[in-house]
Symmetry: C2
Subunit: 437 residues, 2 copies
């Protein structure tokens, strides 16, 4: 029996696990399909991850990049949303096990995304901070402001430096954008809010194990990015890995050490393994092996899309598609189409990834962008970056609030949300236990 | 020795404990005074408490009603802010003990505000939720949305009702505004987001031990308020106290019981006692007895203002002034003036409270307002309520973001921020320990 009170219909049931870019777009495309869609997510909101770094650097309210899933699907009649965490599957019975009970499916789509990958380094995993969830971003914001407040209480520069050395690991778009945002905190906010702290006590490091930043971009763009970041004061270190981190000292592959209490890790992601998926389709990177129709190997009614899916049908991407929003969105749309074809017993359409281009913002008036034939950087790229991100945000209110924050920041050089929200001593035992906040 | 690295000057030092309405206004008024101002608060932001209820009902982002204290005082040269919790005083030595070390003072002003008063009822204290801090408001929001999500998983109405019965205790402005906001959630949001849940499963109760709501307003206004709330579907119960609450069942003084997992307590506040203040100036309600100059009884250089201070020089208020923002603001300004007079060895000016009027909003297009000679309600009062609150918010960005949220909500009947931010399973041990979020 289906436990979590999901109405039974005569239509085939498509269960989608995950309300990220892949899951949401798949569900939307199924709006007029003769199916019952059941969307499960452990959160009740869709998170616009590309702007997460701005929440962690006090540039945006957390709420402005999260959109309630019920709001997105309010007008879609054939969908049921349940807040639930998946704990396993029993594929012989077509049953999904979740924290709120068992859910029967006819078609199942994993769109569970990815988690931070620490590549098995326990010391880093225990002491570094990832950049994948809203609560992580809010906590980074709280933590950074607190480091500044605590630095003011100290007079010995050698004790202050570890608090104000911020080390980003990973030279992909997230690391680059984060390093740029921290450098701007240093340049614009620190002198105003903490005039008593000499600016050279704060340092921003960006560490990349490969030979250049933004490896998926052209060499010229990588070079431009490194130059721009350095101009902002970021200490960029390529061909450098992180060997150890104990919460106080970062030991680099070069033997060098950096005293830092803040290591922000965006050096890799991995699929989130789901219990019950057979060993042979799970790859060491946590992703699930799928064919060109996003079908999980060995199944016809189980699919995986986005970060969690590894598809190797494209010679351009022998190790699978990049774990970016565009792949998830396009695969979501493709699977929606294929589900219809499959039910009509017509041949399905193989997935083809159309690369729409990549962008990364470095700071005020500075961004880099590459589209199929075009490559540009600087002010224009920055404007394009803002427009594309604003348009991609779900919901009018979020667009407007983000726009105002950007507009305000641009002219005032301020960050509006430098507040530390921490638990009071109030009587919220029950709340804490129930909500787990 | 002053530990938390506060620069020593030759000027007399005024230490202000608390960055609420009283503390902030006092500090601002001392901008051009020949003193060093040291402002201490356990948070790094000023909280606009009058709009807290809108955060807890998903109408406003938490960030939009909090303003970083460093931002407020950026242009004030004679002030030092430190994030610190006061733990005691040694008044014979003019030393304040704080979590970050000892702070010497020449003049000390307590502006520590108030906490929820459960009047010694342990059961209520353990299980009810207060409405004084930003984190409480965020947690209420999370909790309420979660109650709805969990209700969907149940099919037995008797199990759903306790989840969707929301009981507010205390018929003052906070209780009234909260009850109105919950009733609007029920009326406008619930049918859209949770069409599967019959609306009559949700109930909003407002319980007041006195004979009428808004006791500090006129009888006519009380009557109007009760009528408006009832029209919105709130079950108003006057002359009713709460005897017991165990987290599941509210036992009323009438013997009646309400099954509810959510008791929101705004039935009283009390001063926050500070260790080291002599017994004889501390009142049973937690407030500190002060004379008409806000001087703490027995001291010439220790003051208390706002909610924490009890001043009984005014026959209109034999039990001390009401614990509202206006008193704190006016006392802050008065103490600033008196500190200058005191240092110049001139006679100080006794405090006189000018009642600027009171307002409470009930819902869309409905509010009540009373000014000295005027009394009005309905649409016009609601517009005035909005304008007054917008103007009182600190900072242009906050004003704008709040305005947009209200504007958006007015036309769409939406609540933008119905998201549950909860902890992920990520590796944020260190952050959690340090920031205490």
């Amino acid at each position: 029996m289906t436990q979590p009170n999901i109405p039974e219909t005569t239509l085939p049931r498509v269960v989608i696990v995950g309300g990220g870019f892949g899951g949401v777009n798949l569900a939307k495309q199924l709006k007029h399909a003769p199916v019952q869609v059941v969307l499960l997510d452990r959160n009740n909101y869709h998170l616009f991850q590309p702007l997460l770094y701005q929440v962690s650097t006090a540039g945006l309210e957390p709420d402005s990049i999260a959109f309630p899933l019920r709001g997105i699907f309010r007008k879609q009649k054939n969908i049921v949303f349940r807040m639930a965490e998946v704990t396993g599957i029993r594929s012989t019975e077509n049953i999904l096990e979740t924290g709120v009970g068992e859910v029967r499916y006819d078609y199942l789509v994993f769109a569970t995304g990815s988690n931070t990958n620490f590549f098995g380094n326990k010391g880093i995993e225990d002491n570094a901070i990832g950049m994948k969830s809203l609560i992580e971003a809010v906590q980074i914001r709280n933590y950074v402001v607190k480091q500044f407040e605590e630095s003011l209480l100290l007079s010995d520069p050698e004790l202050i430096k570890p608090k104000l050395n911020f080390v980003m690991v990973g030279g992909g778009p997230t690391g680059v954008e984060l390093a740029g945002a921290f450098a701007e905190l240093r340049k614009y906010i620190m002198p105003k809010d903490y005039p008593d702290l000499p600016q050279d006590l704060m340092n921003v490091y960006l560490i990349e194990s490969g030979p250049r930043l933004l490896a998926s971009f052209s060499e010229k763009t990588s070079h431009q990015t490194q130059h721009d970041l350095q101009a902002l004061g970021v200490r960029v270190m390529c061909n450098t890995g992180v060997k150890e981190y104990d919460g106080q000292v970062v030991t680099l592959s070069t033997g060098e050490v950096i005293h830092s209490q803040s290591l922000l890790w965006s050096a890799g992601v991995k699929g989130v393994p789901v219990k019950g998926i057979p060993e042979e389709v799970r790859l060491p990177n946590g992703r699930i092996l799928v064919n060109e129709f996003n079908q999980v190997k060995g199944y016809t009614n189980i699919f995986a899309i986005g970060d969690i899916a590894q598809m190797t049908n494209d010679q351009r991407f022998p190790k699978g598609y990049p774990m970016v929003a565009q792949v998830a969105i396009q695969q979501g749309k493709n699977v929606a189409q294929n589900l219809r074809l499959f039910m009509e017993q017509k041949p399905m359409k193989a997935f083809y990834y159309k690369d729409l281009g990549s962008m990364a913002t470095i700071g005020r008036n500075r961004a880099v962008a590459e589209f199929s034939n075009m490559r540009f950087s600087g002010y224009f790229a920055w404007i394009v970056w803002m427009i594309v991100h604003l348009m991609s945000l779900l919901g009018f209110r979020n667009k407007l609030v983000v726009f105002i924050n950007w507009f305000y920041r641009y002219f005032t050089y301020e960050r509006g949300t430098r507040i530390i929200i921490k638990r009071g001593a109030a009587n919220i035992v029950k709340l804490r236990q129930t909500v787990g906040v």
